[in-house]
């Protein structure tokens, strides 16, 4: 009897695993089929106004890049504080928990927050607002990564640095960060992959633009927002463009993720 129950449970959980995988691969396959069918060179050389995606790719990339520039220094400094300066006091563990909570905060709420503090006072949507929203979203991820990676650096390295008389910030920058470089880089890559696929915080902060623009003071083109708008259009051709955009976005995100994994593996070897 025990053996029969065992068999049944193992069978059921294998079945669940297969079912789950079927769903997930169903998504990937439809995405690939639809996306590849709609891909052509025209998409890369034209803007949205001419049924292309060029301005959207550039816009999304710029938004995410500015978010990195804004978010990474603050996040890394906070991570350094938690690991190197706080001596694990109560405040540090409080901030750590808070940052973890913030990591799971609904992204649309961050969008509404940025709308309230940036868009509303200025009076219109802008690229800066979108980048700020993404930076806030990214901040806790960077904090967590830096914190974890610096924690892996052996204590002896710190002691050696202090022993030769280096001030603490020099020890941190020249020894500890260098030792944890690969891990931090990987974490930043993954954080970048996370925010580049975000839609919700951009909907009413950066908005969307049909045209190619590099002016962050106006509404800014965003691939994800455009996919959302295009996919709900009745026009078949526009929906196809949305699929192509979704496919390229997914491939990009997956490549960054694989790259991150590859780097970690190389380091371990």
């Amino acid at each position: 009897m025990r053996l029969v129950i065992n068999k049944i449970v193992l069978f059921l959980s294998t079945l669940a695993a297969v079912l789950g995988l079927i769903f997930l691969f169903w998504i990937l396959i439809t995405l690939t089929v639809k996306g590849v069918a709609a891909l052509n060179l025209h998409l890369f050389t034209n803007d949205l106004v001419n049924n292309g995606l060029r301005n959207l790719f550039v816009g999304q990339f710029i938004l995410a890049l500015i978010a990195v520039v804004l978010g990474v220094p603050i996040g890394m400094a906070a991570g350094i504080y938690l690991q190197e300066y706080s001596f694990n006091n109560k405040f540090a563990s409080f901030i750590r928990n808070l940052s973890d909570v913030m990591m799971s905060a609904p992204s649309i709420v961050i969008g509404t927050f940025v709308y309230a503090v940036v868009v509303n006072p200025i009076g219109h949507m802008s690229g800066w607002a979108g980048a700020i929203a993404l930076a806030i979203l990214m901040l806790p991820i960077v904090v967590r990564t830096t914190d974890d990676m610096l924690g892996l650096v052996p204590k002896e390295l710190r002691e050696a640095g202090v022993a030769i008389g280096a001030p603490k910030y020099k020890v941190i920058f020249n020894i500890i960060i260098k030792a944890a470089k690969v891990g931090i880089m990987t974490g930043l890559l993954l954080a970048f992959a996370r925010i580049i696929g975000e839609t919700a915080p951009l909907l009413f902060t950066s908005g969307n633009s049909q045209y190619f623009t590099l002016n962050l003071n106006q509404e800014f083109p965003s691939l994800t927002v455009a996919i959302y708008n295009l996919a709900t259009m009745p026009d078949k051709h526009l929906v196809e463009i949305a699929w192509a955009g979704a496919f390229i976005l997914t491939v990009f995100v997956l490549i960054i993720n694989l790259l991150g994994r590859y780097i970690t593996k190389e380091k371990k070897r």
Binding site: I5, S13, A17, L24, L82, S104, P106, V109
Partner: protein
Amino acid sequence: MEAIFKKLSALSATTILLILSAIFVVLFIYAKPAVSKYGIHFLVDPRWDVTVALNQNNTANNASNTKATDENVANNQDTVDNDNGINSDDSINTDDDMANSDDDAINSGPIGGDDSDVLAALGDNTQSKNTETIYGGLVPIVGTVLSTILAMFFAVPIAMGISIFLAEIAGPKLSKPVGMAIELLAAIPSIIYGMWGLFYFGPFISRIFGGSSVSLLVAGLVLGVMIIPFMSSLTRDSMNTTPDVLKESAYAMGATKFEVIKDVIFPYAKQGIIGSMILALGRALGETMAVAFVIGGVFTFPKTITDPTVSIPVVLANNFAESSGMSLSALFYLALVLFVLSFIVISFAKFYFLRDKK
């Protein structure tokens, strides 16, 4: 230099605290008009953007009183019943789509009433000057909670199956690539899940269960599919923390695999497993894009599971850009509700279940 850098890094750490509290404060300030007008009654009022007349026994700031408001509408419908024939159709036509979809909200709500009655009541009210627009958040709140519960019911068994399969059944040759595929799938942007739900999964579900291809059921299932990779990779990780020695000693006593999973691994990894489920729940709660495509976005209570409804993030995503004044304030109120809700859920998971990890 040293002192400056130390101050700077401490300041950055404080930024996190500042941003989180700023989110709360700013949302509250913007929600203030709605909060002070509707009070806590906002949370149980099913009407959104519905115009009602102000009777003399019901003044503007009286909206927090449920009975008074309901009575007001009821009275109103009674009067409309009486002079139904007099009402002109023109007044109905002046209502936009928004108002039309809201008629359903009234219908399925506790207020009830005929379609024509409500339409007439609305038309009547727009004509009279003494009206106010009521915003209540019950429909999106219920939609959010229901879709999340559905997602959990769907995702938990499958995610448990996947993680048991990966941790215990499959050999390393199979579990490594499959586990990696699952982790990669967790990284796919949620908008992709939404598109798939809209074009493939929704029609598929409506063919099986009937009903429309955008519905509460589809939204819950798409959410479920979306959190499966997240949940199963976290659960597998906590299952893998079980020391091999414990498992081996159980096997040595003749336990079957199921008994080892049930009596050794689950008790050992219980906290991590429950914690990861709550984290996944928090993610489902605040998810916008996967749901926005497939939930329908109409302010009605779902009478059956295959009816379209709306959830808080979707309300925000669809209505935010066009709103101003009181409707904007009501949206901020909703955002505040969502923020507090997910904050509580996630902190609960962190402090009670995942505390030992760090």
